[in-house]
């Protein structure tokens, strides 16, 4: 417990130090246009928590963004694990999936926006697709590495104990790949949240990404910085929640925190 207390303590110290530095920097004449005053930004956030920005207050925006991330992310996690293991475990699966994987991997999710609009229209479906495609490839990579790096001796031990070939995957390979899969889910979640801003560039009238884009449309630097802080805080929350979940589920893992 003390480790987590210590971590939050240092987090508070360093983030408040950063805000103080930011405050003095924003007072300097030269930085006037570059940096809004942090007090205004936090005031904007507090105001946004009560009265709506556009149609929702910031909680509404966050919920909207989380709903998009949730759908896109869960789809990507399920498909990522299935396709990733098929690619890693069966030679034929690898031969079929790997060429597409190598080609799609380097393509940033924003590049999919034009096609997403044409295929899935302009509402939530295209946003789900953008987040899905961005996260799928990241999770697939970790699942592939996890399944590939299973300890061959463990397979030998399982065979020796009478496990048949078709049982091996679910009884040995998948469980031993769980830590790697989890780190993939963690990185994937961070990426899904970051991709959500790209998705909200298609057309949105709500969401954390929308706040920034609206801020930019009206060159309201305070709103832009508020949007960024919002995304950073919620993103941090998601990643830590995931790490907490991993500590719970992977208790058996030597790498446990």
């Amino acid at each position: 417990m003390s480790d987590r207390k210590e971590k939050t303590f240092w987090a508070v110290v360093s983030l408040s130090l950063l805000t103080i530095v930011w405050f003095f920097a924003s007072q300097m004449e030269s930085m006037k246009t570059l940096l809004p005053n942090p007090v205004d930004v936090f005031k904007f956030l507090v105001a946004g928590a009560i009265s709506p920005i556009g149609q929702h207050n910031i909680w509404g925006h966050i919920l909207w963004s989380l709903s998009r991330v949730f759908v896109g992310y869960t789809l990507a996690a399920v498909c990522g694990i299935v396709i990733g293991s098929a690619m890693a475990w069966t030679k034929v699966g690898e031969a079929i999936i790997k060429p597409f994987y190598l080609l799609l991997r380097p393509i940033p999710s924003i590049a999919w926006i034009p096609l997403a609009i044409l295929w899935f229209g302009i509402d939530e479906k295209s946003k789900y697709f953008i987040i899905f495609i961005g996260t799928l490839l990241i999770i697939m990579t970790n699942v592939y590495d996890g399944v590939r790096s299973v300890d061959k001796n463990l397979l030998g031990a399982a065979r020796m104990l009478g496990a048949k070939e078709n049982q091996l995957f679910f009884k040995v390979v998948l469980p031993s790949a769980v830590p790697q899969i989890f780190s993939g889910l963690q990185v994937g979640l961070g990426a899904a949240w970051a991709t959500m801003v790209a998705a909200e560039m298609i057309r949105s009238s709500e969401g954390a990404g929308w706040i920034i884009i609206m801020g930019q449309n009206s060159v309201n630097m305070v709103q832009i910085y508020a949007g960024i802080i919002l995304i950073g805080v919620v993103g941090l929350f998601l990643v830590t929640a995931m790490r907490f979940l991993e500590a719970k589920l992977c208790a058996w893992n030597i790498r446990g925190k």
């Binding site: 240092w10 360093s14 983030l15 031969a95 080609l103 380097p106 960024i228 990643v239």
Partner: protein
Amino acid sequence: MKRLKINKFRVISAVTLCVFVLVWYLVTAVFGLFPKTMLPSPDSVFFSFIKKLTSTVPDGGTLFEHIFASLVVALTGYVIGVGVGLPVGISMAWFRPVDHFVRPVFDFLRTIPGIAWIPIFTVWLGIGLSAKAAIIFVGVFVGTVVNVYSGIKQTNEVHIWVAQIFGASKIEILKRVAIPSALPYIFTGLRVSLGMAWLGLIAAELLAAQKGLGYMIQVARNFGRSDLVIVGMITIGIMGALLTLALEFVERRVVKGI
């Protein structure tokens, strides 16, 4: 027997690709399930790819000019990102006070995507190469620090104790024990960050552009040229894969011993 086996799987991959293109062709050109603008047929994509090698319609640049411009932006951001990321990652992992102060800020900034920085970097760095490279820098910096940090943290305690027994100072241990043993992780970091550099390309070119693959896709989109959009995406995919292969080639040459 081994040689035959590899070819067999190569064949399957080739067959799958052909089947995919065939399905794509059937669905678009033959059955006409989709209007040309929604999903162009593979042959129209291929012809506009060939045409784009020389013509500058509609964005004022040939495909090679766009590839070159994108490489310049991506690699500048990559070099700076790694150059800053390595020392920060190492010091974060090795010196406790640095970890205490830098890590929380790092974790906070980590989930903020490149695009969100566009308005801020425009104001700070203008609309030239430095601003675009800064967008790439964000992704690369995160990728490098994460991998280098875990690399240094993985250093085996026993090696550290042995060095301490020989009276090595904390800095010497870092130089002669921690960093060498973290080399594989550092290289993973370099590879991951190269991917991140390329992934940040479109966001960087959203800030401002006259040439570049991201720019080409944006303009193609404005003119309803979905065939050019697909050409742009495939080029990004191929270039990204080539970049990673090139780095793996370099890595194999350099990391002989480990």
